[in-house]
Subunit: 412 residues, 2 copies
């Protein structure tokens, strides 16, 4: 550990780590069955409890849970994943922007969709997107960026735009591209921009060298962009403005990166952080330590446990938990002091259910201002006996800023 | 103990008593380290838990916390300390009153401030205040009272007054008194009254015998009153109207007395209750017993623990806690039955932090209707294992009126 003047905090989220008892693990959860000496030590030295990421029993998504854990009530701010996905692939999003998920698709000369996914195109979409990005239509600017395979995102920014806009994507092949419609005047303006964007995308893309090459190879051209799923970007106060200190996010998925980018947090790229089973947990720990050099707060999301939950593989999940524990061990070697550290999950992904559930997740908070409570190991049931009691995700930042000593007093 | 027909309740608040582990106390908190046989017995016979005075992690002031504990949500009712301070020095405040903190100051003939604190005048301000109190300006009555040293409070009561009023106090010396300005029509009316009050205060005070004597002694005359920090008094339902029984407050500080007065609770004066380390805890206990003769509810605030926390003195805090336990012991000798008793703190004031923190506070509720839960001693961590779980301050009166059996049923 190294000395630092400023109080710092880290929230370490093992995505989907919490679980239910597994018969093959003798009735233990993967977390309870795994060997986790580092997390057990922190549990013994800190305060433990259980957390409802959103509210008791609510099945949280990773996006809604991370928003709550960062102190932004999703019931107020969450209108869908669209704006965060767009932010996640690298678009700068502002409150009020109208965001669409898009496909690169293939149409014939009559605007009939022949392949909604343009043959699941897997390369060259960056060049196609660059040819469309920044287009202006009347007083609206269109930001456009490719995501994985045939997927992309479109963001409209300009005055007087609504988001009650129907899809241009007909969601079927053999039918013509739909004309987007707006429910009200502001949405009609946005629909008009979408329709013009779709029309121009065809004009611009059909003869793009990427597509000429595909046609030569006998593959469907990605000759049009079809937006769907309109959503308006919420107005979220930036992390630093809300808390008075800077934050970084060491994360492995686009969606969580999108939330962090949305809050204007810094997002270091971490070589070896794959978001898969093979991710480099040591590199992730080092990225956290590195980020703490010029930030007072780091959010980390380690993804692998969730994959094992979705795969229904209890043994694999035990391995992923033990990998998480090695991440913690590496982090503790280099953590500056005074730092308060919270370790938890964003939701349960039980191997028996293969999807998110609304069970509580275990949480520990470690650091100099805590009151150690006698819990000796980190697990769903040991933590339920801890002194934090049963808390909600949206309280976590308040609990941490209290321990950090950075919070304003409410009253005299 | 003596028999009485009516169910009664007492909330005993040891101001700032809760704390964090202290190394010099072998990792115990002052409360855990102190010898508290009386509170330990009540913990063993009652229900224990931990309480967030406001909400998890929120750093409560004494004022916001006491409001919450008495069942008045500060997020709804608290607009600043001004109205409660004014009430605390003995002014009767009504909802809608416009309240100001004031200084007695010194100005020259050109209205230039030469001493903002009138030489920290320490006597005679009661006579000066009496010369101004009750003044009417148009249809507005001005209530004015001295506080400690050069401080005072001004309350404007009348129709159509707003509180968006800038300060007459220029917050600097060598500059002229400011003309208060109002942001809207109602506030402009209040600002006009303030300016006239300031003008008249000079006319009335400059030749007051207190000032003539000061001038003779070569000290700055307290020849003007400069209001600042306008705030509107919230409309708070009186304690008795809300709960259906009468309440008294045995308290040691002006701010808490102000809250009690605001709620029209009776406030007995207690000889020996100094609000300091030397306070007479036996006298306080006897005042509670006395108040229970003609009230069904008593709130008590014992201040000393908070002082030791602010002073960062762990050993002193242990002593203050043990003094609190003697208060409880004396109280239990004479408590009428059936009475339910809650013992808690309004916030933590850790000796390591020397200010309020947002940590939970321990709470015990003792009385015939409780379910004893096996907790054997009164302390932060023993209580965290109790059956009350983690509750909020604003739920306490509802819990007590339930135990008292005085609460209306909600539903059929």
């Amino acid at each position: 550990m190294s000395e630092t003047a400023k109080p710092k905090a880290v929230i370490l989220i093992a995505d989907g780590m919490a679980d239910r008892p597994v018969e093959a693990l003798k009735g233990r959860t993967p977390l309870e069955a795994a060997k986790t000496p580092h997390m057990d030590r922190l549990a013994a030295e800190g305060e433990c409890g259980q957390m409802d990421p959103i509210a008791p029993g609510v099945r949280a998504g990773s996006d809604t849970s991370h928003l709550a854990i960062l102190g932004y009530d999703p019931h107020t701010y969450y209108t869908g994943r669209g704006p965060f996905e767009a932010a996640g692939i690298g678009l700068e999003i502002k409150g009020g922007d109208i965001c669409f998920r898009c496909n690169f698709s293939t149409v014939d000369e009559n605007m009939v969709v022949t392949d909604r996914r343009a043959g699941r195109i897997s390369s060259g979409t960056d060049k196609l997107a660059a040819a469309l990005n920044g287009m202006t239509i009347d007083d609206v600017t269109c930001y456009f960026k490719e995501s994985v395979e045939h997927r992309a995102a479109l963001v409209l920014r300009g005055p007087g735009l609504g988001h009650e806009v129907s899809d241009a994507d007909p969601h079927a092949e053999g039918v013509k591209v739909h004309l987007a419609q707006g429910k009200d005047a502001a949405s009609a303006k946005a629909a008009g921009v979408v329709n013009e964007f779709v029309k121009r995308s065809y004009a611009i893309l059909k003869d793009n060298p990427v597509n000429l090459e595909r046609i030569k190879q006998g593959r469907p051209a990605a000759n049009i962009v079809l937006p769907r799923g309109a959503g308006v970007a919420p107005h979220l106060e930036a992390f630093q403005a809300r808390y008075g200190f800077s934050g970084a996010a060491v994360v492995e998925t686009g969606l969580i990166a999108g939330i962090a980018r949305y809050l204007a947090m810094d997002i270091p790229s971490v070589a070896g952080a794959t978001g898969g089973y093979d991710t480099d947990e040591i590199a992730i720990a080092q990225a956290i330590v590195n980020s703490l050099k010029d930030h007072d707060f780091v959010l980390c999301n380690y993804k692998a446990c969730d994959l094992a939950g979705h795969d229904g593989d209890a043994m694999k999940k035990v391995e992923c938990v033990e990998k998480m524990d090695r991440l913690v061990g590496e982090l503790m070697k280099h953590l500056p002091i005074p730092t308060h550290l919270a370790i938890t999950a964003d939701h349960s992904t039980p191997v028996s259910f293969k999807d998110h559930t609304g069970d509580t997740v275990p949480i520990l908070i470690w650091g100099p201002a805590t009151r150690p409570d006698g819990v000796k190991s980190f697990g769903e049931r040991p933590c339920a006996a801890g002194s934090l009691g049963r808390i909600r995700g949206q309280w976590l930042m308040t609990l941490l800023t209290n321990l950090m000593g950075t919070q304003e007093k409410y009253g005299a």
